[in-house]
Symmetry: C2
Subunit: 434 residues, 2 copies
């Protein structure tokens, strides 16, 4: 019944190296997947609908005659929503409402200013025209992910949001379709894999070309997204999910244990780490894990994840704990502390911070309001949660007055000559009134 | 002496297909470059400094004994700045000041709100810790690019900005070093190519690992950046530069011709397009081109670019012109109109808009204030100019009150059960006071 979870301590002489090993994760590049995806994308680009129908029939065991068989009507989405049990529908609606309210705060606004000589400078904000949302089929199809990807796009003002979701064996996930309905998805195609990514990126006779593709997927989908990046925008390619709980020994060890489980139950590669200033509390969490694990339906996944990638890290004090958290730059950071507030601003790198004992990560996953699509594998060092800003873009505005052109023209001319670009210089000089 | 520039008109029956062909540009994937870059990156990752020194000696014809020979001191940067001719230094300082002032407006601020039950939700903004700036060597080394990449990073609060710039044959570009000095670059290594990208992405004994790499480079650099994306952040990989001038026949045809030249002189692949409502004005611009081209030092590059990729597009009215501009989503859009203001907000996709006759693109390239690193090849449909926001990131803040945990816990539990994630449900349920 015992479960061995790796123990690290900052007093270990090789702590830094051990931590590095613990965090190491590199998605293996797979040449076979690369080749398969390249071939599918090229085929979809050339043959359009016909290729997408072929691959969908083959990979998802369907018998579609044309793309028309692979599009769902608005009516089917409405039916899925109407068919939900009342409690589930209420929960989904409450979650959607809260997610929408939070994301409304993220909308970017344009600005401009006018200088003394009449020159105007500014920044204009516009939404993307059309976005593709990839939703995985089968067991990884999460209605909450539909809400988290679709709502920010709609809040941003995206005119057309096109969802693709494979239906292996023809099975539709009603909760996913209900979420799509609630979130305002405009069209749904029951296609998946690299062929769906190709259809969205290049456009086909039936599937309109989009400007950006978001949403999680398997290795084929991730590879396809990387390959079409540049033709369309993409979101981050996510790694395994992780949680880092920082504890000072206050709070309930059962709660901490279950929070570690909630990450570990996602899949065997998920990573759950507890950093604690209190050795005795680590033992209590270990005991809670032993006690609670047998009650969990997904105990085998949890056990594998915790044994292979989980860890307890004992630290001397909270400053050390925070320094390690910043080094890890975790996707989810729980500050399981009685007095968490002073520590929040010391965190420089994290996808989301769950502050205080009552803020379990799961509340954030579903309904607190912030997005659950967060930077993984330390990429919080340089990237942000998915947000409305991912569906808006900026355009610089420059309106130089005749007077401004005199000042700026001289500067530009000097610098252009310095760079050996005489037409740039001349173009500025033409505007000089001599 | 005549130069044949492609003519399109919206009255052509095949206009849409012709426009598509005109805009088509796909960077050829080159397997040799991919293999070479993969090998260099792997070697730098394994051998660190030694590998970087080897490649630098080989590719840049140097004889460095160690990385110490490939780092420039702050003193050398100061000397480069002090050594500039007074006019050039003044121009560089004026440009830097204006770029800084504009970018100060872009800084993101955090926010939060507290709900009735005491639950706090928000978004915290933090700068990246360390950024790498790639600057090409040789003829494409532009001091203005150093300002445009470095200043937003510094305005964002990036603590350490590390520049890499190859010095083929050991030759230092003094204007580039002076710009680095002015912009506040912290360290400079005279290394380039895939080896420099690898050093920044993985870190070596001498080169610290960065969180993001920005800046332009050749095909090897672009390939290397794509490959390290995920380990570090990268900026957009830029395609050839383009300008789209929208004219209603007002203004000076010489000015328009020179603005088209200023784009075309960058390289043979650059694209200059004029959209005009007035057929007679197009002829006047053609005449200006014939007249002015022989006076240009870079006339061969300009001629090739205009002949191969340039175009004049005749449209029926301004609405058509704007619709085409939105379809092109140009990097640079000039509204060469007497009354441009009403048209600005009808533009949905452009990197930067240069408004009115006095706003030549070259003023924006150097010193108006906005960034000259802009989305190319139609990617303004989904991305933005380089900005301070590229060096800042967001962290979601969630602090659920004990009362809030009751409401949110029930919603989360219902949805988690719906998704088959019982530990998520339990973790929410543990916070319920029953």
């Amino acid at each position: 019944m015992t479960i061995a979870i790796q123990r690290l301590s900052t007093v270990d002489t090789d702590f830094s190296a051990k931590l590095k090993t613990l965090l190491a994760f590199e998605a293996a590049a797979d040449d076979n997947i690369e080749r398969t995806v390249a071939a599918i994308l090229a085929d979809v680009k050339t043959r359009g609908d016909a290729a997408v129908v072929d691959y969908s029939n083959r990979f998802d065991r369907l018998s579609a005659a044309s793309m028309a068989d692979l599009e769902l009507s608005r009516d089917e989405l409405e039916k899925a929503l109407a068919g939900l049990p009342a409690e589930r529908r209420a929960a989904l609606e409450a979650a959607a409402g809260r997610v929408r309210a939070y994301h409304e705060m993220q909308r970017l606004d344009g600005w401009s200013y006018t200088e003394a000589d009449g020159t105007l400078l500014g920044q204009m904000i516009t939404p993307l025209d059309r976005v593709g949302l990839y939703v995985p089929g089968g067991k990884a199809a999460y209605p909450s992910s539909v809400l988290m990807n679709a709502i920010p796009a709609k809040v941003a003002g995206v005119k057309e949001l096109i969802m693709v979701v494979p239906t292996p064996g023809g099975e539709h996930n009603q909760l996913v379709l209900a979420a799509a309905c609630l979130a305002g998805v405009d069209r749904v195609f029951t296609i998946g894999g690299a062929q769906a990514v190709g259809a969205l990126a290049y456009g086909t006779e039936s599937v309109p070309q989009v400007d950006k593709i978001v949403g999680p997927g398997n290795a084929y989908v991730a590879t396809a997204k990387r390959r079409v990046f540049g033709i369309v925008g993409i979101d981050m390619v996510a790694g395994p999910s992780e949680i880092l709980v920082v504890s000072d020994g206050t709070g309930n060890p059962d709660w901490v244990a279950m929070d570690l489980f909630s990450q570990a139950e996602h899949d065997e590669l998920a990573q759950s780490i507890l950093i604690c200033t209190d050795a005795a509390f680590i033992e209590r969490v270990q005991a809670s894990i032993e006690k609670l694990l047998p009650t969990m339906p997904r105990q085998e996944v949890i056990r594998t994840s915790l044994s292979n990638r989980g860890a307890f890290i004992l630290v001397r004090d909270m400053d050390e704990a925070i320094a390690i958290a910043n080094r890890v730059a975790p996707e989810h950071l729980e500050l399981a502390l009685d007095n968490p507030d002073p520590w929040v601003e010391k965190i420089h790198h994290a996808g989301a911070i769950f502050i205080g004992h009552y803020t379990s990560e799961s509340l954030g996953d579903y309904c607190a309001g912030p997005n659950h699509v967060l930077p993984t594998s330390g990429s919080a060092r340089f990237s942000s949660p998915l947000g409305v800003y991912d569906f808006q873009k900026r355009t610089s505005l420059i309106k130089v007055s005749p007077a401004g052109a005199q000042t700026l023209g001289r500067i530009a001319s000097t610098l252009a000559h310095g760079e050996g670009l005489p037409a740039h210089a001349k173009s500025a000089e033409f505007r000089l009134a001599d």
